[in-house]
Amino acid sequence: MTEETLLSARDLNLHFGTIPALVSVDCDLWPGEVLAVVGESGSGKTTLLNVLSGRMRADSGVTWYRDPQSRLHDVHAMPAPALRALHRSDWGFVHQNPRDNLRMSVSAGGNVGERLMAAGNRHYGSIREAAIDWLEQVEIDAARVDDMPRTFSGGMLQRLQIARTLVTHPRLVFMDEPTGGLDVSVQARLLDLIRSLVARLDIAVVLVTHDLAVARLLAHRIMVMQRGVVVETGLTDQVLDDPQHEYTQLLVSSVLQA
């Protein structure tokens, strides 16, 4: 655990029966950097995301988190209330399917304001203002603040999820295939939004994706996983343009060019 990393995992191991999900995985994340974890199905990338965020426990290994006061916390030894509070404030988690993280029968404003209310904000006016501000930041028409998410398109739902997650200015956001399942044109706009928000707000991101183009666009660093093992890690454009490991070379050469 060096001086400045925000999140550090060492020697994570996890098997589901005989299936290796994580094999001696190390992972570091610095403030403000985007780390993409790529791999095919069964690579362990989503499992890694779940273990790093404390949603799942590894068989062995440790994950450290450095809070804003620079104190270290063992993510898996934290008491449940503390971990849940962390997930509502300093951390965020963007799910692939936005419906997993939205209240579909609560207005857009209510969805965005929920983390503020959970954090103790009791002023209706200021909550609503913050919600409107965030809707604008994710390019949703502010006039829709009182509309139900049921009336939103897939891309809008994902942007709403992002607004809901970022409203408490988390320093670390976990993203699980944030553009998966969206139309291509919608993906492009969403990726650009994520790119600019992350850069502007100096958010550290662990981004799981199977799409190398998404990794290239968003990430500073990339980790390539195959069957639970990290086969290569480094600067995104270097790993994608000059892959050293056999599996990485296979992945990169398999991408279709439009």
Partner: protein, 290 residues
Amino acid sequence: MNGYNFAYLDEQTKRMIRRAILKAVAIPGHQVPFGSREMPLPYGWGTGGIQVTASVLGAADTLKVIDQGADDTTNAVSIRRFFARTAGVATTTDTNEATIIQTRHRIPEKALREDQIIVYQVPQPEPLSKLEPSRAETRRMHALAEYGAMHVRLYEDITRFGHVAISYDYPVMVNRRYLMAPSPIPAFDNPKMHMMPALQLFGAGREKRIYAIPPYTEVRSLDFDDHPFRTTRAPQSCALCGADDSYLDEIVTDDAGGRMFICSDTDHCETRQAEGHSGTGEPITREAAE
């Protein structure tokens, strides 16, 4: 005593319920599960309240039972007679005389005293039930004091209606720690729970939960700083006793929109009338009511 144990329930059951009550009193607002028994009334008719009353009732107690504020409805009469028969205790309609008051959906207008106990009949003890279908999850939310979802609900009301549109069973924070469902009493009654000198016990028979508010406990209705909680009542005065500060029932008197507004708390109304207060005694027309 007709072959019944005192107050119908066997001693072991009463002991079990008292243990639950002690736990509930020790953790104000926290729902304590208990082994709810088969009672001679079906679920939904006050079995929880009856079991709590049966467990705290003593031979020297005087019992009052009200239903929506009235002593003379069928259910209030039935339950009062039930305890008269199975416990042989004195019963009354006078709030002042009572030592135990079992109530469905109202708190008496008259302020209660330290030597009194009020037992509420509760249909749904879980204040988060409409927001979170999983009981396991609501238990976790209570344990971790994660009540954001309820504030979201209030936020939605203000967005949609300009004010919180909960008129009964308005959620409260007890002792600054637990979110509690006060039972379907009108929001008008909520302030009475705050720092009440009497012990407040809540029993839900079908859901098998008991909770409590010890005397002089802080009870705050949820609100926003810029949308504070306000009580509402019909603006009229009682047609019988003229009271303008009690909770009123609206009674339709004809098919042309005529209606009378009368105190919901029958004892309160009768007492005032006995003291010489009176109202118009007349129904009012539809136009006047609006």
